[in-house]
């Protein structure tokens, strides 16, 4: 049988192929913005419009009330949930297609295939991080500043979120190669996750009978924390934040093992 050598660590692979990773990143960023206005539209204008529409519907039409707002506006509340969601949704979505879309490269050239997944996840995180910063500045100008003290916590939490997105990206990208129906099913999953996670609402609004069920959704924790550290600046740190970071790391490690195992036969399915 084939001798199975211990796989190279993700960090080693990255460092060894630093220039390739940078090239992939550059190319992916250029793909989005060069020669087309679509990149700018999708990464900035579309999310701004989304924010506007949700704000309109929820605060003006439904007149929803939130206890934890403390007089802050809905629009800030939504923005704090929407951008982390966009990073995740777009990053994992693009990662899912990243191997299949680069079949020619994967079947002709030897390079670490995981770099394609990392690139696909990283670029939406970068783009929406910039968009998010812009939104926060605009909101601050209009009298809705975030709690600056919460920024370090937010950055740490978003790193965990990024790690978790990489994990799902690796998993879905490798599965998609063999099971091409996956991305269609994911569309449904995204829709459910978006509405069953406290992104547009907060857990406090949920009827008491449903609360325990929704609280079981681990993504809810992430969105609640990402929001509250910037909205109120408290609590800045809680012990479970580090549990979350550990889980994200573990998820990444497991997903990478799955990827490495499934990678062996990519050539047969592409």
């Amino acid at each position: 049988m084939l001798a199975r050598t211990r796989p190279e660590g993700a960090m080693n692979a990255l460092l060894k192929h630093k220039s390739l990773a940078l090239n992939f990143l550059q190319r992916e960023l250029r793909n989005r913005f060069v020669g087309t206005g679509l990149g700018l539209y999708l990464s900035l204008i579309h999310p701004f419009l989304q924010l506007g529409v949700y704000t309109l519907i929820f605060s003006l039409v439904f007149r929803a009330q939130l206890a934890e707002l403390n007089g802050r506006s809905f629009v800030l509340f939504f923005a704090l949930g929407l951008w982390p969601w966009l990073m995740f949704r777009e990053g994992v979505g693009r990662a899912t297609q990243s191997i299949v879309n680069n079949a020619a490269l994967v079947s002709k050239i030897a390079f670490p295939r995981e770099l394609l997944v990392y690139t696909a996840v990283t670029v939406p995180f970068i783009i929406h991080l910039i968009g998010f910063a812009l939104v926060l500045v605009v909101l601050a100008v209009f009298g809705e500043p975030v709690a600056l003290i919460g920024i370090p916590s937010w950055l740490v939490l978003i790193c965990g979120w990024y790690g978790f997105s990489l994990a799902l990206g690796l998993l879905f990208a490798s599965v998609q190669v063999y099971w091409r129906e996956l991305d269609h099913l994911l569309e449904t999953l995204w829709m459910l996750v978006f509405y069953l996670t406290p992104i547009l609402f907060s857990l406090s609004q949920v009827p008491a009978a449903w609360k325990p069920w929704l609280a079981m959704n681990p993504l809810g924790y992430v969105f609640t924390r990402l929001r509250e550290v910037l909205l109120n600046g408290k609590p800045l740190w809680i012990a479970t934040d580090f549990v979350f970071l550990a889980i994200a790391l573990l998820a990444f490690w497991c997903a990478r093992m799955v990827f490495i195992r499934l990678e062996e036969r990519f050539d047969d399915a592409l």
Binding site: S19, L20, L22, N23, L105, K108
Partner: protein, 392 residues
């Protein structure tokens, strides 16, 4: 310190799921996860072992579908072996398909950066070599136009040019020197020769026996995924050439021989140098032809002897009637033929001796029998025969 071989392949096999058995869907995922072998696999490569030392260069020859490209992909690390193992104790650059990393929307100069990164060239080294790459490609102002506007020749030029910036221990090339115009091909070959001179090691897949003989010291011949022959490049490529020439005309010859088998005058027990099997002849060695001609009416038949290349090109023909020779009678109905080509000036390749039984009048042809032989030798002369010549 470099005493161990650069490349060691042990019992390499590669099985692909045959298109018919490709299930797709969830079961494909399950099979991949369980590493279950495909149910009715297509065996692209079957138990191939070899080693390549540093500074040696190895050619891989064989017909289309023999597994040559699969073997290169395994060594390059693009695909994983189903069984067996391959180890490369050094850096590798593989040119499996020139320009496969190019993005059509980007300009040539933008594309060479990624292409270089894919070949594992660090950014600093690439910057240092960029001017050299551009000079090698020599495509002028097209460099700043999108690759989609390029001709296939220009893509190839650019693709190969990037590779010249690498200095790997092992260079793997798949038919890349058979592309582009002749001038560029020569440029590529000069570069590869320079690379080899500096102690580089080359793995080459090529249908051009000229390239094989010019660039490689050793060769392996793959047939249906198995190793048919391995040895020095010259003799393996010559035997492969002879084989492929004979194969292309074999069917035609079979039909021809069959149609005339029931003729009145027949050829039997035809032998070359006393052998039934295809003979191997060293360049310049004499070739003895012997046969029995059956004459049912006991009269002395005539015989024609033709020498043709294995693709059927006639080289020389003569006959007992032309030469005024009478065959020796052995029995009442059997005459013996003994004939020798004295030191024929044939160049390496595959040849056939054709024996035709004729009636005693030398008018009608009744039977044709063929025997093939291979001329082997160490030469890079080209053509069929060596013509006496002199340089002034």
């Amino acid at each position: 310190m470099h005493s161990s071989p650069l490349v060691v392949a042990k019992n390499l096999s590669k099985h692909y799921a045959s298109p018919a058995s490709r299930t797709g869907g969830f079961s494909a995922l399950r099979n991949a996860w369980n590493r279950r072998p495909p149910s009715s696999p297509f065996i692209a490569l079957d138990d191939v072992s070899f080693a390549v030392n540093r500074g040696e260069s190895l050619a891989i020859v064989g017909e289309n579908g023999a597994g040559k490209s699969t073997l290169l992909k395994l060594i390059a690390g693009v695909v994983k072996a189903t069984h067996g193992s391959v180890a490369v104790n050094g850096t590798t650059s593989a040119l499996l398909e020139l320009g496969s990393g190019f993005h059509p929307e980007y300009t040539g100069s933008e594309n060479i950066a990624l292409s270089a990164a894919l070949l594992g060239i660090p950014a600093a080294q690439f910057e240092a070599k960029k001017a050299e790459i551009i000079a090698f490609a020599d495509i002028g102002g097209a460099l700043d136009k999108p690759v989609k506007t390029y001709s296939s020749g220009m893509v190839v030029r650019l693709g190969f040019a990037v590779a010249t910036a690498v200095n790997p221990d092992l260079l793997i090339t798949d038919e890349v020197m058979a592309v582009g115009d002749e001038a560029f091909q020569k440029k590529c070959i000069r570069w590869v020769e320079g690379y080899l001179k500096q102690g580089g090691t080359l793995l080459l897949v090529s249908h051009s026996m000229y390239h094989v003989q010019k660039l490689c010291s050793h060769a392996i011949w793959l047939e249906h995924g198995r190793m048919r022959e391995a040895g020095d490049a010259l003799s393996v490529s010559q035997r492969y050439l002879a084989y492929s020439q004979s194969k292309s005309t074999q069917e035609m010859l079979d039909d021809h021989a069959h149609a005339q088998a029931d003729g009145l005058y027949r050829v039997q027990n035809a032998r070359l140098n006393g052998e039934d099997l295809p003979a191997t002849l060293a360049m310049g060695a004499s070739l003895h032809v012997s046969a029995e001609i059956i004459s049912p009416d006991g009269r002395t038949p005539h015989v024609m002897i033709g020498l043709v290349r294995e693709d059927g090109t006639p080289i020389y023909g003569t006959g007992s009637e032309f030469d005024g020779v009478r065959l020796t009678q052995k029995h009442s109905q059997s005459f013996s033929l003994a004939f020798t080509y004295e030191a024929p000036p044939l160049l390496p390749g595959g040849y056939l001796v054709r024996l035709h039984a004729m009636d005693p009048e030398g008018m009608r042809l009744f039977d044709t029998v063929e025997r093939s032989f291979v001329v082997v030798g160490q030469t890079r002369e080209m053509g069929v025969v060596r013509l006496p010549h002199r340089w002034q």
